[in-house]
């Protein structure tokens, strides 16, 4: 059973190379942009000639740590955004492509159940994609730190202190891991829906997946003047019950145009216990499970002729 799952998940990665190509591409782009940023900034202003991470003009260790953390946070968000798009396209393709190219008949000629196959695709979407993304985030951070170290050293700065001594690396990475995987679990109802659409639709899974998400709220508004569906689906992304209460003012110090020192630890803002104890998290998991079961049913019982 586990052997089958490993083989099936490996197959998903073989088939959907975008699972690792996309994060690598983003890692390269983010690294190039930060390098270009450092060159540009230092060309315009001597004050920040040790830009960006090691910026000598940021006074105090805590402030510098905060600045670095925010930079890390920013790059992580780019990966998270890409992950959302990647997951959408992966899940919509996962049970559709095999029917389109007729390879489903080959896969079904092997002694693997439809449940095992659908579960492997679900596990890939909810865990493998986020984990690959976190790995790419970590590599990107390291590459950027190395580039910056080189930059600071060329400028005659003390990289060991200014850079490596200032970065709460593991705090940052642990936060990235928790946020990324928790986001995937939190959004799993949508993942389940996409898998189900991918299993049944005869054409254009993207259209079939999003049309109901747009039409149902309109119908709901026309008949009931309510927005439950829209807020449940589109609002969900913003409502992840993972963070401590935190507002923007608390986060950003407008007077000094910098972030507050307490932002330094991202982990301190994350409340995993709260996440795991929130009923709507588990309700989402159940909805995802129902859609996955429907996808298994369709793959198992629909006649492909």
């Amino acid at each position: 059973m586990i052997g089958h799952q490993l083989a099936l998940i490996k197959r998903e990665i073989w088939e959907h190379r975008s699972i690792y190509v996309t994060p690598i591409a983003i890692a390269v782009i983010v690294s190039l942009v930060s390098l270009a940023g450092m060159v540009t900034v230092s060309a315009f202003d001597k004050e920040v000639n040790m830009a960006l991470f090691g910026a000598s003009n940021i006074a105090g260790d805590a402030e510098r740590q905060a600045a670095l953390t925010v930079f890390f946070l920013g790059t992580s968000w780019v990966f998270l955004f890409a992950l959302a798009i990647l997951t959408t396209f992966y899940t919509l393709d996962s049970l559709y492509a095999e029917r389109k190219d007729k390879s489903i008949l080959f896969w079904r000629s092997l002694p693997i159940t439809d449940a095992e196959t659908v579960v492997s695709k679900l596990l890939t979407a909810v865990f493998v994609l986020p984990l690959v993304t976190v790995a790419a985030i970590i590599v990107t951070h390291l590459v950027n730190l190395v580039i910056t170290t080189g930059w600071v050293m060329v400028k005659g700065g003390n990289a060991a202190h200014l850079i490596w001594g200032s970065v709460p690396l593991f705090d940052n990475w642990a936060a990235a891991l928790i946020v990324t995987v928790a986001s995937a679990v939190w959004m799993s109802p949508l993942i389940g829906w996409f898998l189900f659409v991918s299993a049944f639709t005869k054409r254009s899974p993207l259209l079939m997946a999003f049309m109901p998400l747009i039409i149902v709220p309109i119908i709901e508004w026309i008949f009931f003047r309510t927005k439950f569906f829209a807020s449940a689906v589109f609002g969900r992304g913003e409502m992840i019950p993972l963070f401590e209460e935190m507002d923007f003012e608390h986060f950003f110090d407008e007077e000094r145009m910098t972030v507050h020192e307490e932002v330094v630890s991202l982990l301190a803002h994350i409340d995993l216990g709260k996440f795991l104890l929130t009923p709507s998290v588990w309700a989402g998991v159940v909805v995802c499970g129902l859609f996955a079961a429907a996808a298994i049913y369709v793959r198992r019982y629909r006649d492909e002729s």
């Binding site: 052997g3 089958h4 490993l6 083989a7 099936l8 490996k10 197959r11 073989w14 088939e15 095999e98 190219d101 007729k102 390879s103 008949l105 080959f106 896969w107 079904r108 000629s109 092997l110 002694p111 693997i112 159940t113 019982y301 006649d303 492909e304 002729s305």
Partner: protein, 287 residues
């Protein structure tokens, strides 16, 4: 009797269309059964039922299992090639072998490697399926299937779209690499003439019904083709041929359970080809 596949009153409806209509047959161990029928006759539907890909009415038992309900168990002992195009196009040859090896308990990697060593695929382990020629894809698929120790092999138009050399090679390899008395093959094809010499048994299906089911050995005894012309043709026609056609001004008539002694006086006797028998049977069934 060791009946691997046993069907009793099997039917399958798609809406109002009856694709398979009350079909009964047996396939015994060690046989190569050809299922022959025109397009839309119900061949593929019947094979799907045997493979558990579709449910059906009536009693159907394959290797003693209910194919639709016990698919996973069934797939450990059954193999099928539904069409040459079904191997996923994106996969690499080496990946495909790895995948089957890790998911199929009866697959022998050594045997597959040995079979591939004699083919053009051998030097293309890193190629994707879409980069291989159609013939090579079939060689690859057959090598995988032949390396699986399965009791029943189901082939649905396995050589469609292949050139004659690959088609001959395919069936040659099928006999030499795959077939033995422990194994059984069920095959459908349009190109009857290419497989008739390897079949042990044959079934004709038309409009969802089995209209003919016999062993190849009995064909030569039960059917005869008479080549005749002129007056003799009229006499022969009175003996009730099941089919008649004309070639170069000569009449060719097909007789079932023939009275050879009287037919011999009317012209030359031949053993009919499966294709001619098929045409006569289908015409007779629809007339």
């Amino acid at each position: 009797m060791t009946s691997l596949v046993s069907a009793r009153g099997v039917s399958k409806q798609y809406g109002k269309i009856c694709a398979v209509d009350n079909v009964s047959f047996d396939i015994e161990k060690g046989k190569i059964m050809g299922l022959i029928g025109p397009n839309g006759a119900g061949k593929t539907t019947l094979l799907k039922a045997v493979l558990g890909l579709t449910d059906c009415e009536g009693e159907l038992s394959v290797l003693g299992l209910d194919p639709f309900k016990q698919r996973k168990e069934l797939m450990q002992n059954i193999c099928f090639i539904a069409d040459v195009a079904v191997l996923p196009r994106w996969i690499r040859v080496s990946q495909l072998l790895d995948f089957v090896e890790s998911t199929h308990p009866n697959f022998s990697r050594e045997k597959a490697e040995a079979l591939l060593a004699n083919t053009k695929v051998n030097t293309r382990r890193d190629s994707r399926v879409r980069e291989l020629s159609k013939g090579m894809v079939t060689q690859l698929h057959l090598a995988i299937i032949a390396a699986i120790d399965a009791r029943l092999l189901v082939l649905d138009e396995p050589t469609l779209g292949l050139d004659i050399i690959f088609r001959k090679e395919f069936y040659g390899n099928l006999l030499s690499d795959y077939f033995d008395e422990e194994r059984t093959i069920l095959v459908t094809t349009h190109q009857v003439e290419e497989i008739e010499n390897i079949l042990t048994d044959i079934m004709f299906i038309n409009e969802g019904r089995i209209i003919f089911d016999a062993s190849m050995d009995s064909l030569g005894e039960d059917y005869v083709e008479l080549l005749t012309s002129g007056e003799k043709a009229d006499q022969a026609r009175n003996l009730g041929p099941i089919g008649e056609r004309e070639v170069f001004g000569k009449k060719i008539m097909l007789f079932e359970k023939p009275d050879r002694a009287s037919l011999e006086t009317l012209g030359e006797l031949h053993t009919p080809s499966v294709a001619d028998l098929f045409v006569a049977k289908v015409k007779g069934a629809t007339a």
